[in-house]
Structures are given as C-alpha cells and as structure tokens.
C-alpha cells in the first residue's frame, strides 16, 4: 500500500447532546470542519477529489450527509462524496476508506472525518401508531377518518427515542452499556477501578486544554451567533471519586458497576482530516502530520464488543510486524472505563492470548502513562461517527509535540467489531 499521509485536521468542540449544538444539524457541523480544514491548509476546494464522512445517525433530511457537507463547504459539485457507517468506528472507516481510494488511484486528495448530531436523533412512533397514521392519511371519507381516530390510544402518542434504539444491538439484544457490564464481570473490573479511570480521563482533559485547543475550531451557533463555542464541554472541572461514587449503575441496577460517570457521553461534534499520498504532500510543500503504517478491523462476539480493541490491536501489530513495546502512544476509545481496562488486561494476559491469539503469546503491557494521555471519551464524549477521526488527529498531534514515532489508535464497535490504525511520524 502506498504511504498515505494525514496532512492536517480540525474538529469542532465536542459538546454534550442537547446543549450548545442542539440546533446545529450534522451536515452543518461537518460543513464547518471541512471548510475550516481548507482554510488552515490554504488548500483549494477544487483540488479535493472526495469527501468521506462517518455518520451513524444520518440526518433524515440530508441523505448521504457527506455530499451535503461537501457542497455546503464549497467543494465544487463535480467532486465526489459518500458517507460511511461502521458504527462507533465510522470515523476510522472514513480515514481508512480514504486511504484505500488513494491507494487505488481513484482519488488523489480526500477530506475524511465524521459528523454526528446525536441531539438530532429523532423520536419514533411505534409500528402500531405509524400504521394508524398512515391509514389516516389515506382515508377518504369523514366516517373512515373518525373510525381510525377512535382507534388511537394514549400509548400510541408516546414515541421512542431513536437514540436508545440505535444504541441497542439486535444481534445480542443488549445495549452498549449492557455489553460493558458483560465485559466488566468477565474480567472482574471493579467499580472503584472504573471510577478511578474515569476521574483520570477528566483530569487529563483539563490539563490538556491548551493542547486540545490546537485541534479545535470555534463554532458560532444560530440564531444569535453571540456565544462562541470554543471548548469541549463534557469534561467536569471538579470531578471527584466521591461524586462518581454517588452515581447508580445504569445498566444493571442490582449488581452493576457501569455508571453514567464511567461511560462515554452522548455528544455532538465533527472532525475533518486532509489526506493524500505522502509524495504528493511533499511535492506541494505541505507539512505532514503522519502516515498510516497499517490498519485493520476484526469481528468478535457482539455481547462482548468492548474487547474489540484487544483483538484488533493484536492483529494490526502482528500484520505490521511491530511489537507493542515500540508503540509510543496509545488511544483506546473510552466507550466505557470497564471495556478499556478489560482490553488492556486482555492484551497483557497469558490466558487470553492462549485462548485467542495465534502463537498464544500475550501482546504486552500498555503503560497507563502512554494511554489516552490527553483524556478520552468519558470526559470528552463520543459522537459515534466522529470519534475515530478525532483519535487519529489527537494522537498524531501529541506524537508531534513529544517527537514520537509510532502511535496505535483503537476502538470497540457496537455490533461486535474492533478497529485499529497504526500511525507513524518521521
């Protein structure tokens, strides 16, 4: 595969759903970052061949949201765009899909990323109610209409949250939090350890505010445009173990350990990354943040989807021939503290390796000081279609700051997958 470069990237602040970005649809968030990356790189819109955006909850009024985003951002209409969905790894999928297009010579320059407005997830009427509404629309006579109206019951008027439905995996019948519980119990990850991990995530984000501002663009929101959004707002300034301890487990009331405090948040945001072959970037005199050394996705048991990173990181390291100890920085998306901790344990565990990895040898120990060094999804939030792109960007920027050479970013994926990308800097 050709050496694919990540030239630069930018993201919006990550904002808790139903707060400042409530009125900003995904297509607008995406358009903002795509337009901004063009400004920061002084790259001309007409020189972009394709826009690939990850988006799980695509806006119902913007089909193929990547195309809508591209046009809004001023990319000429004769250029291409498509939207990808690999659930929580959609942000990765956009980046790796871009790499594949460039490698195949189908695109020279791609803007890849993600846009997600979880605030905009619609409310859905039940199948029964929808059926009645439909019949009502088609009714021709007054008596027909009256007859149908009399069939409505109060329960028909209580719509369900699409978000809730989207975060439930029909293959195993569990929602994401419930899969975290499965993994927590399997690996015996205690409540205390999860809360501690969560607290650390918040602390690291707070300490990294200045660093993170490098990758964040300011967003002005309609209709007044008077309160610029400049920072991620999910992080809690005064978070403490005490506060975390007070929360009740959400997914298993009686014996659970996973709470809202040690889970990622429901978030709105977008991210855009400019990608092209490394040789092209050098020829254009563009500075390169890093290149993709390798990547992979793998499937696993849906009810244990949180272990995805363990499986896929082993695969990527094996395929690229890079030993774990050579990796300078790690990012494992903090969907839940429990699953990150479990994945880390799994990679170090002899027993797990014997059971699951060819060769039967543990992959290695990940130093917590090198993992999610500027915080993660627990404090920042996890706009599902976007996070993968953010991980790539944030890891490369930190590698640049510290003069490091190799980074491994990874995600667990609802539905039972894992994704990982091995990043390199010169």
């Amino acid at each position: 595969m050709k050496k694919i470069a990540i030239v630069q990237g930018v993201r919006t602040p990550f904002v808790k759903a139903w707060t400042s970005f409530q009125k900003v649809p995904a297509q607008k968030l995406g358009a903002l970052v795509v337009a901004e990356i063009l400004q920061r790189t002084e790259f001309k819109p007409k020189d972009v061949d394709e826009v690939i955006m990850g988006c799980v909850g695509q806006p119902i009024d913007a089909a193929n949201v990547a195309r809508v985003i591209a046009l809004m951002a001023g990319i000429p209409k004769d250029k291409r765009a498509y939207t990808v969905n690999r659930n929580c790894a959609s942000g990765f999928e956009a980046v790796t899909s871009a790499a594949e297009k460039i490698n195949a010579g189908l695109d020279d320059v791609v803007i890849a990323g993600g846009a997600e407005s979880m605030s905009s997830a619609p409310l859905v009427y039940s199948e029964q109610a929808t059926g009645l509404f439909f019949k009502l629309q088609r009714a021709k006579t007054l008596s027909q209409r009256l007859g149908l109206m009399l069939q409505f019951r109060p329960k028909h008027f209580a719509p369900q949250s699409a978000l809730q439905m989207a975060l439930t995996d029909p293959s195993c019948g569990l929602n994401m939090g419930q899969t975290a519980e499965v993994v927590a119990k399997k690996f015996g990850i205690s409540r205390l350890r999860q809360d501690d991990f969560a607290l650390e995530s918040h602390k690291r984000v707070i300490a990294a505010r200045a660093k993170l501002s490098e990758e964040i663009m300011t967003v002005f929101t309609p209709p007044a445009f008077d309160k610029p959004v400049t920072e991620d707002n999910g992080v809690r300034e005064g978070q403490s173990m005490e506060q975390l301890g007070k929360l009740k487990p959400v997914f298993d009331r009686r014996s659970g350990t996973v709470t809202a405090g040690n889970s990622s948040q429901i978030t709105d945001g977008a991210c855009a990354i400019l990608m092209m072959e490394e040789t092209k970037a050098k020829a254009l005199g563009l500075p390169v943040l890093g290149t993709i050394r390798g990547y992979d996705y793998t499937g696993l048991e849906p009810s244990e989807m949180g272990l995805g990173p363990a499986f896929v990181m082993e695969r990527v390291l094996r395929k690229t021939g890079v030993p774990l100890k050579e990796i300078d920085l790690f990012e494992i998306n903090e969907a839940f503290a429990a699953q990150v901790l479990a994945s880390v344990e799994a990679l170090a565990s002899k027993k797990f390796a014997e059971e699951h990895f060819p060769g039967g040898l543990p992959v290695g120990e990940i130093d917590p000081a090198r993992l999610n060094v500027n915080g993660g999804g627990i404090a920042l939030g996890h706009p599902v279609g976007v996070t993968g792109a953010r991980l790539v960007l944030t890891c490369l920027l930190e590698m640049k700051r510290r003069g490091l050479k190799k980074g491994l970013v990874s995600l667990c994926v609802g539905g039972g997958q894992g994704g990982a990308i091995l990043l390199e800097r010169e």
Partner: protein
C-alpha cells in the same frame, strides 16, 4: 410583406415572424410599427389561414418593448396622444383578425412587446430563464399606452394586473403561467414545434383558454364596485406612502383603472391614451428615462484601458467583521463566492454571521431565495481570528477601524501574506488608498472598494484609483463589483471620494440649520418633500453621529473652512448620542417610532429663513461641491456625479440627478443664491466654486 415582419405558411397556419434587421434586439420602433400595420392589413384579407402564430427570430428576445428614445422625444400632449392611439389602432387590427392568433414568447417580452402579446388570442412561452414578461412603463414615468392598461386587467383581473402595471413587476415563465399571463409553457428545446402544434390545436378548436377560479375575496375586490373602490383606495394609499406623491405615473394608472376597469367596450382605450398623454410630457418621465439610460450605461461602462478575461476571484477575504464586513460577506456568499472573514474580536465574528443570517432569513421570507438556500449560502462564510484562509484569497477587502495606522498595519501584513496577484481593497470611506498602498511592496494591486450601508441594498460602489493602482487591478475590481450586482463609478483618491464629499456638507448644513430655529422634523420634512428618501437629520442618526463626526472632521481637515464641522455635532458627540444604534441621536428611537430628542434637537424659536432657503442651502452646497469634484477630476463627468448621488445617496431619480437638477435650475440662479447665502449665512461654506462661476458666466450646463 416587407421590413422586419415575415410570413410563412405551414399546414394552413401562418407563421408571422419579427426579425429586426438592424440589431440583435427586437424593438417596436415607429418604423417597425408601420411595417406591422401594413402587414396586418394584408393578413386581414387572408382567407387561407386557419390561425396565426407570432414569433421572434431573435434567440433570447421576443420583443423588448417600444423604442424608449422615441418616447423620450415626445414633447407635447398631442404627440403623446397620437402615438398611443396609433399603437393601439395597429394592435386592434391584430386583435380583430378573423382567425385565432397565438403569441410564442421565447425571451424578453416587456412593455410594448407584452402589449403586442396581449392583443393575441393566446400566449405561450418557453421555460427558458430568458423569458421575462412585464409592463415596466411605470418605472419610466408613463403607463402602458398600447392597450396594455386595459387588456391586462381584463385578462387577469385588477389584483393580478396591479403588480405588473403599477409596480412594474417582471415575472419569469412559471409565475407568468400561474398568474394567467401565458396559457401554456413548453420546453425550450422543442418550443418552436410545440408552439406550432398548439396553434394547430387552437385552429382545430381543440384548445380552450383555462379560466382561473376566483376565490370570494378576488370576486369581491374585482367584480363589485364597492370592492373595486376599496382595492383602488388601498393601492393609492400604498403608492403615496412609497412615493410621497413625487411620482405621478402610479396615481394616473390608478385613476385610469377607476375609470375603465369593469367596463367593456372600446371607450376605455381612448382614456388610456389620455392618461398616457398626461404622463408622457412630464419632467418626471423625462428624468426617469434619463436615469434609466444612465443606469444601463454604467452597468457596462469601460472605465479602464485594461482587458482582463474575468475578475479572477474564486475566494474573497474580508478583514474586519463589523456591520460593513458582515454585509460584504453576505453579499459575496449570496453570489456563490466563498468568503473568509477575519477579525481580532470573537464577538465581531459572531456579529458578522448574525448580520448575514438575518439578511438571508429576510430574503427567504420575501421569497427571494428558497429556505434551503439560507444554510447553503451561510456555509460559504467561514470566520476566524487568525490569518488562516486569507492567503488563498483572490481579493481581500479590508473593513477595519477608520484609522490610517491600523489600516496600514493590516495592508502590510496582507501584502506580505498574499501573492502579488491578490487584490487588496479598502472599504475606507475617508482615508487615502494611496497611503495604505505605501505600506505594501506591491502597491499596484491596492485599490479602494467603497461600499455603502446597507451593503445588500445600496446599488453603488466607488472604486478608488490609488496613485499606484494598476489598470488591471482596477478592471478586475470593477468586474468583481459587477459580479456582486453593483453599479460602479471610478473615483480619484481624494478625501470623501465622491458621495461622502457631497453628502457630508449636506448633513453638515442640516446640522447648522438645527441651531437656526429649525426643528429636526422640519428639516427632514423639507428634504423629504424635495424627494430625498430620508431626511438629513435622520440620515445622520442612521449612519451614526460618531461616524459622521469623524468623517466630517477628516473633510474639514482636508478642505478647510468651507467644511467646518457644525458645533451641534460636537455637542451631540459629547452627550454620547450615537444615533439609531444606541437608540438616541437627534431623534429618540423606540422600535419603529421616532421622536425628536429634546436634549439636542429641540429647535425652539422661529426660523429666521424660509423653508425654501433651507432646502436651497442643503442642496446647492452639494451642487457647489460637485462642481469642484468635476474641476479637480475627482470623477470624469457630471453623469458620474448624478449616478453616484442617485445610487449612493438616494438623490431622487425623478429629478434626473443632482447636476441634471442643477441644470434645470440654471447655474446663474444657483450662483446668485450662493452669493446671497455667503452674506446671510457663512462666507466660507457658500464660497462658489470657480467651475460653477465659469459655468454661470457663460450660462452653460453641467451636462454639456
């Protein structure tokens, strides 16, 4: 058949084509009307035709109207009446042909052209964007005189006809179909064939006119006498409110409707000629025609000797996100041009976006754009606190604080940042573009590009030629401004350029009058009765007293005693009165209402001079300064002064323009009054310009 009209036969249908041999445009000159007259006599005798299809041979034009130059030359009521009667007589022959007629509208169909179409039995048009249908005569101070004022209301009803005849609205094909102006629409590609097929169907009796259904409201206002009276009365109120009685044509049209609408027969046509005759000789009409020709001329006037393929602008930068910066960003994005706005202040960036958003929402409400376009166009505007995104701009417009030091700093930075081909334009209203260019290593690409507030509505821009500005840079800037929909005048780099240099003395004079026993309302009343859209005192509040004060001082510094700032402006500034933006200026503002602010503009005591003199002082001081501008070659001609003041300051077009008005008064009379004002008011302010003196001496005209 001879001249521009040709007849061919096809399957028993006559195809009657108008093809002006002398130009690309089909216009109903008296020569072509005469040929039409003869042709119609011939056609009347034809018994072999089942129907007649009227077409145009010009690709984008059906018939663009009557010859405006001929209308311009009408000087007597008799002449006007005769011309109207003749045109009607000819079109009556068309209407009275024994077989049905179909008019195929393939492009511009305006004024007399549409009246021609109205005399046919049916009208069809293509979907082409070139199809523009309307009766814009009211904009030239007249009314449709070839029967259109009678036929259109009979065809589509009074309420449907009013926007076209009274307001000069021009519609495209879809709207024309909707309002019943045309009967069918066909694809542009197959228009000729489809129109022919339609005509055949008409001849065979297979086609009928579709009468639109009338709702009860329409039936009341159009079909009942009391309803009609109410509709006409309301229309009259609207007209008076908008025109303040300065434009006789719409009122004459309403009077004509009152006398003719709802009545059948042919007596109405003669009344149309009578009302046309009353209007055709008015000064207002002549002045509006003059203003129309000026506007057309300046849309494509060749200011420089450079020839460039295009303005070369794919991306526009704006530095300084105030009201003007935000307005410019909205203007450019509306034309599909991506804009990057930079400011050092986050609040200002938000303000620019808010301004643009408000303008777009407004446009959507008034159906100028579709709702989805609001977000699409807003997304072309991106904002930032750093220079990111400016380097790649093809033009950067600077709209920062009116301070030469600040502006030079910005220009120095932009000059170093951008390629030499990037145009750097200043929106300054009062500072020297040449001085700003001194901060640049590439001064030849530095120009002035002065927009007027509000940017989306004021049609004028002043392009300023700096000492080192290249012809190419100026030409690109001019083309860019036209792409933004503006009319351009090229002005030398002198303080105040043109418009502000004339406008400030006018405002200043009003300020002096406030201390001479005139109330704010009285002064504004005088100016509004003259025809200014907004009185000078309210205008000062609108512009901002602080802004006006600053510019006034710059002009005083540049031009000396004749531009001495009125003391009341100093007092207003010291009292912290900023004008509309702070709610209090010379007036106090509460929502849409305004009342004089007693703190500054009480205007008690009686005025020592007449209202006539007050008006003269305010207007003649502008004329006097304009004379200097021509003398000093700040602008190239009196016509440019007139265009600048009409489009940049709202000088009433019905007066023909500032200097056309001056010519109508006469230089000797103006000189005499100026000398009198020197004695009665102030020697310096009313010092007659040498150019004006010379003009008066030989009784010459500004417009030679």
């Amino acid at each position: 058949m001879s001249g521009a009209w040709k007849l061919t036969l096809r399957e028993g249908i006559g195809i009657f084509t108008f093809d002006n041999p002398d130009s690309d445009v089909n216009v109903l000159t008296s020569e072509h009307l005469a040929a039409l007259d003869a042709a119609l006599d011939e056609l009347a005798g034809r018994t072999d035709l089942a129907a007649l299809l009227l077409t145009s041979a010009k690709p984008r034009i059906f018939v663009a109207g009557a010859d405006i130059r001929e209308i311009e030359k009408i000087h007597t009521k008799e002449d006007a009446f005769a011309k109207a009667e003749r045109g009607k007589a000819i079109l009556a022959k068309l209407e009275n042909l024994k077989y049905p007629t179909v008019c195929a509208i393939n492009g511009a169909c305006l004024g007399g052209g549409f009246e021609l179409a109205l005399a046919c039995s049916f009208r069809v048009a293509s979907f082409s964007p070139n199809v523009k249908i309307g009766l814009p005569e009211v904009n030239l101070g007249i009314l449709p005189g070839f029967g259109g004022s009678i036929r259109l209301p009979r065809l589509v009803g009074l309420l449907g006809a009013m926007p076209l005849i009274l307001a000069g609205k021009i519609v495209g094909p879809e709207e024309a179909l909707k309002f019943g102006l045309v009967d069918r629409l066909f694809s542009e590609k197959t228009f000729t064939e489809d129109a022919f097929a339609f005509t055949k169907a008409v001849a065979d009796g297979r086609e009928e006119r579709r009468e639109p259904k009338k709702n009860w409201m329409k039936r009341f206002f159009e079909d009942t006498p009391p309803g009609r009276a109410i509709a006409l009365s309301k229309a009259k109120k609207d007209v008076l409110r908008k025109t303040k009685g300065h434009y006789p044509a719409p009122l004459e049209i309403l009077r004509l409707f009152g006398r003719t609408y709802g009545k059948g027969g042919s007596a109405s046509y003669r009344l149309e000629s009578e009302h046309f005759a009353r209007l055709g000789t008015t000064d207002v009409s002549k002045n509006l025609i003059r203003a129309f020709f000026l506007s057309e001329k300046y849309k494509k006037f060749r200011w420089t000797k450079a020839t460039v393929a295009s303005d070369g602008v794919e991306k526009c930068g704006v530095v300084g996100a105030g009201v003007m910066g935000g307005g410019i960003a909205q203007l450019a994005s509306h034309r599909g041009i991506p804009v990057r706005v930079k400011d050092l202040n986050e609040k200002a960036l938000g303000g620019a976006l808010k301004e643009a958003f408000g303008l777009y929402k407004d446009a959507a409400k008034r159906k100028k754009i579709k709702k989805c376009e609001i977000e699409n166009k807003m997304s072309l505007i991106s904002v930032g606190l750093t220079n990111d995104g400016l380097k790649g701009c093809d033009i950067v417009i600077e709209a920062v604080l009116e301070d030469i030091g600040v502006k030079q700093k910005v220009f120095r930075e932009l000059d170093a940042l951008t390629a030499p081909s990037t145009l750097l334009a200043s929106n300054t209203s009062s500072l020297s573009v040449t001085k700003m260019a001194e901060a640049c290593a590439h001064p030849e690409r530095v120009v002035g590009l002065h927009f007027f507030n509000p940017v989306n509505r004021m049609p004028l821009v002043e392009v300023i030629r700096g000492e080192k500005s290249s012809e190419e840079a100026l030409e690109r800037t001019i083309l860019f401004s036209r792409r933004l929909g503006k009319t351009v005048i090229l002005v030398a780099d002198r303080p105040g350029f043109l418009v502000n240099r004339l406008l400030l003395p006018y405002l200043n004079e009003a300020a002096y009058l406030l201390r001479e026993g005139f109330s704010a309302e009285r002064i504004d009343g005088v100016a509004e009765r003259f025809g200014m859209p907004m009185g000078p005192v309210e205008l000062a509040d609108q512009v901002g007293i602080d802004v006006g004060y600053k510019v006034a001082h710059i002009l005083q510094e540049a031009f000396g005693a004749r531009m001495k700032v009125a003391p009341i402006l100093e007092d207003a500034k010291n009292l912290g009165l900023l004008g509309k933006k702070s709610g209090k200026g010379f007036y106090a503002y509460d929502g849409k209402k305004r009342t004089p602010n007693p703190a500054i503009a009480g205007g008690s005591g009686s005025a020592r001079i007449s209202e006539e003199d007050a008006l003269k002082r305010m207007i003649y001081i502008m004329i006097n300064e304009a004379a200097r501008c021509i003398d000093e070659k700040v602008v190239d001609s009196a016509a440019t002064v007139d265009v600048g003041m009409m489009m940049g300051a709202g000088f009433p077009p019905f007066r023909g323009g500032l200097l056309a008005y001056a010519d109508s008064v006469g230089a000797p009379a103006i000189l005499k009054d100026l000398e009198r004002f020197q004695k009665e008011a102030d020697a310096a302010r009313f010092e007659p310009a040498p150019y004006l003196r010379a003009l008066a001496a030989r009784d010459g005209k500004f417009h030679a």
